[in-house]
Structures are given as C-alpha cells and as structure tokens.
C-alpha cells in the first residue's frame, strides 16, 4: 500500500492526463466516425452496391457493433449488434479471413435474422476483416453489387485496401478509447495490488468525473470553436493565439478579484 500523499499526487497526475485526453478527443471532433463514414460512402459508390457498412468489436459483452453505413439500403444497419460467434461478420472477424457469399437470400436457412433486423435482406455479401498489429478490430461489409451477382478477386483486393484505411483511422483514435483502461492499470500499479475491480473502477470514475460533461456545456462549445480553427494559416493562428492569451489574462484577473 502506498502512503496517502503518493496516492493523492498520482490521482492528480492521472486527472491531468485524463483531462488532456478528453480535450484531445473533443478537439478531434469525431474524426474516426467521419473517416469511417467516408470509407463506406466510397465503397458503396465504387462497387455500385445497395449497402456498405463497418462493424467494430466491443467487449463486455463481446459484440460487433455496426457504426457507419452507406448506400440505398445501408441506413438500417447503424447501431445493429451481432455476436462474434454468429454470421458472416462473426466468421470474418474471428478468423481474419475475407470471404464473399452469393445466393444468400435463396437459402432460407442462411443467417438471415441479423439481415432482417436491418430491413434489407441481401442476395450477396462480401466481408473483409479490419486487421491491426494485434488482430481483428472489426469488419467491412458490402451487400449486393448492382452490376453483378457476385464479387470478383479484384473486388476482394479493393475491399482489403479500404479495410486497411479504416483500420488506420481506428488505430489512430484507439489511444483515447483506452484511456479508462490505462487509468485502471496505472492505479493498480500505484495503489494496493489487492484492490478489487470495483475499487479500481470507483477510483477511475472519480478521476474522470467531470471530464465527459454534456456536449453542450460551455467548455466543450469552446473546444468545438478551437477545433473549427484547424486549417487556418500560421498568421491567423498567431492572431487567434494572441486573442486567447488576452482572454486568459482577463480570466485570471477576474478570478483574483472574486
């Protein structure tokens, strides 16, 4: 057990890390979602497909969650969850092997339940894994090419390229997604090694409390404003920096007066 002073200092440090991470996430403004969306948009358009979607793996409970979709019949898939032990997406995710099936709808025994929940039952489907250094993180799917009843080897190669783009987008933002887990690990190191999961969880939520406020809170609106400045030239950014410095000094004086 570390002494209380050490723990207090560690918590303060973790709080600073958590705050910076949250600000970074806010500044990013859903870049992952936008990139993934642009990938399924491009896929649906290139293949002239009825639908294209990306599902990402989420743990506890293990599931594949459809995050983005495109195409005339894609919208119904967003938000859908399937078990990794089921269906084409589950197989491709579990094995890392790309595959395509034709004549899906003609066989009533085929795994249609998930498809029916999206409101669209495809005739053909191609699925490729999103693979990072550790293994599968999700699946990219395309349903029904309008010009052809099946998918060619070239199609599968192109899909693999789109999948690697999607994986890059996801890996870049995973650091933020894993902040909570990281905090938990660090707490175990600095704290008592016999701490239960629940105790660690309580400390982590204490550390991160107040960081993920309602997105409309004034602080996050400010973060949004700053995020919108990306792409400005160096001169404009210097001007914005000067203005912010003046505002910050004003804020300091206001605090001292209070």
């Amino acid at each position: 057990m570390v002494v209380d002073d050490d723990l207090t200092a560690a918590l303060a440090a973790l709080r600073a890390v958590g705050r910076r991470s949250s600000v970074a996430r806010g500044l990013q403004g859903g870049v992952e979602q936008r990139l993934l969306q642009s990938i399924v948009d491009a896929t649906a358009s290139l293949f002239d497909a009825e639908a294209s979607s990306i599902a990402l793996f989420e743990a506890d409970p293990d599931r594949l969650e459809f995050r983005v979709a495109a195409g005339a019949h894609g919208a119904g898939a967003v938000g859908l969850q399937v078990k990794p032990t089921e269906g084409i997406a589950g197989f491709v995710f579990s094995t890392g092997q790309a595959l395509a099936l034709t004549d899906v709808a003609s066989d009533p025994r085929f795994d249609l339940e998930a498809a029916e929940r999206t409101g669209y039952v495809p005739r053909s489907v191609a699925a490729v894994p999103l693979l990072d250094d550790e293994g599968s993180v999700g699946v990219l799917q395309v349903l029904d090419k309008r010009g052809s009843p099946s998918f060619s080897l070239r199609d599968m190669e192109l899909l693999a390229i789109f999948a690697s783009q999607a994986t890059t987008a996801i890996t870049a933002t995973r650091v933020q997604r894993d902040t909570g887990r990281l905090l938990g690990e660090v707490l175990r190191q600095v704290g008592d090694r016999t701490m239960t999961d629940a105790q660690v969880e309580a400390l982590v939520s204490d550390v991160t409390r107040g960081l993920d406020d309602h997105p409309e809170a004034p602080f996050w609106r400010l973060v949004d404003h700053v995020a919108s400045l990306r792409g400005l030239g160096e001169r404009d950014l210097t001007l914005v920096g000067d203005i912010l410095e003046v505002v910050a000094r004003h804020a300091q004086r206001a605090r001292r007066r209070a």
Partner: protein, 257 residues
C-alpha cells in the same frame, strides 16, 4: 524447371483418398450434413478452462458453416477420406490464438495426415509456439494446408515455409492448380464462386482463399492415398510438377563446335 516423369495419372490416378485422415481446424463440422455423407470419424473442440486449453468431444455442429464448406470441397475431390473435425472457434475470443495452437498441436500429435487451416494469428507472443508446431508437423510428415491472408501483414502459421499456403484463382475447375515459384503463397486453387455446403444442411456459393485451400488439401490426400509415406517436401514437389502453369519453352542449348 519441371520434374519429368511425374503426371497427374501417376500422382492420383484411381485414388479416392481412402485411408487418409484430413483434419479441419475451423468452426466445427456439421456431421449430419448431406454433403459430408457420414465421412466424419471424429469431432473434438478446444475448451478453455481458466485460460488453459482442453480437448473435449464436440457435438455442437458448425458455428458458422465454414468448416462444413471446407469438408464438402474436400469430399468432392477425395470422397473416401476420413474427416476429423477440430473446432477451435468458440465463445471465448480472447483465447482464440491459444485454442488454435492447442487444436493444431492435438491434431499433429494424433498423426492426422493432412490439416486444413482457415485461421491465422498475428500475435507475436504465439509466433514461437506456431513455429515449433509447424516444425513438429513437418518432421512427423503431417501436411499443413493454410489459406493465404489477403493482407500484407505477417500472420502465422500461413507464412512459415513448410506450410502449403494457398490463394484463390477464378477458373471454375476444382482440379486446376497453380504453383507460384515466388512464395510465401505457393499454390493457387479455385476460390471464386465455388458451390459449397453451408450450415443447417444448406448450401451457397462462396469466394475467398479459405475455399481454395481445401482443394489443395484434397489433392494432397489423393496423392497420399496412392503413395503413402511421401513427406511434405516430396508432396510439394509433386504438386509443383503437375501444376497447370504455362510451360516455359525448353531453352535451346547451342551445340558446341
């Protein structure tokens, strides 16, 4: 360079694969599927107990349909082989690589002649485990046939040199085989719009390297049934010799004056 005197007739003429055991390390075979026609002689699964793998009898059929598809392709070419189902895909995703390695080890130690693998692992931690297993298989004469991965990143065991790594070609002929002299992918077999068996007694049409690999597994079984005792090294040489690659013109050797 082509080995002379080795023809398809010599390699597997009259062979049905009788007496050869082929293991499918995958999602579990649906033993009562009409396309498998009572050829499944054993079904096991890898269960993880507190993270430790254990081999148990398996009666849960095929989770996805994929193992059954591979089994059906193999029986289509080699109707008299005995199939062994080794299910390594299951509920516990975190132990996936461990289960795969345990299933592979069990199958090698059973001396199953040919193993069809649809999985691969990118785990650095499992690299030495798979390396040892693949060597063990090679030295015991167990043939490992693996679907090549489409992505350029490293994945094991499909990239190890003694494994028969297979990619798909699109010519609709189950016996059409290509040899690629520039590995890691060494063989090409039919893998586009292949009619396959699927779960719950069903069937469909599929594309992917994992449907090409079982064609090569079946060819190896046909050769082994006719020529028992050939080593993995010899079997690769036979496949290369009977492949459908365009023949290079024989170089003209100038007569010396």
């Amino acid at each position: 360079m082509r080995l002379r005197g080795i023809s398809r007739e010599w390699a597997w003429g009259g062979s049905t694969g009788a007496g050869v055991r082929v293991g499918i390390i995958d999602s579990g075979l649906e033993t009562d599927h009409p396309r498998l026609a009572g050829r499944v002689v054993q079904s096991v699964a890898v269960e993880l107990v507190d993270g430790d793998p254990r081999i148990v009898q398996d009666e849960s059929g095929d989770l996805y349909g994929h193992a059954t598809a591979c089994g059906g392709i193999i029986l289509g070419l080699a109707p008299d082989v005995d199939l062994v189902s080794i299910r390594v895909l299951g509920a516990d995703l975190r132990g996936k690589g461990t289960a795969f390695a345990a299933g592979l080890e069990w199958a090698i130690d059973q001396g199953i002649n040919v193993l069809n693998l649809s999985l691969s692992s990118k785990s650095e931690a499992l690299f030495p485990v798979f390396h040892d297993l693949v060597d063990r298989a090679y030295f015991r004469g167990v043939v490992l046939v693996s679907a090549a991965n489409n992505v350029p990143a490293a994945s094991y065991p499909s990239l190890f040199s003694s494994v028969f790594s297979v990619a798909a070609h699109s010519e609709p002929d189950p016996m059409r085989l290509y040899y690629n002299p520039t590995p890691p992918v060494e063989f090409g077999a039919w893998g586009v719009d292949v009619p396959i068996a699927w779960k719950d007694g069903g069937s469909t049409v599929a594309t992917g390297n994992s449907f090409a690999a079982p064609h090569v597994a079946a060819m190896v079984a046909l050769i082994l049934a006719k020529h028992p005792g050939l080593t993995p090294f010899e079997l690769k040489a036979v496949l290369a010799a009977i492949a459908d690659n365009p023949r290079r013109p024989t170089p003209r050797v100038p007569n010396r004056p």
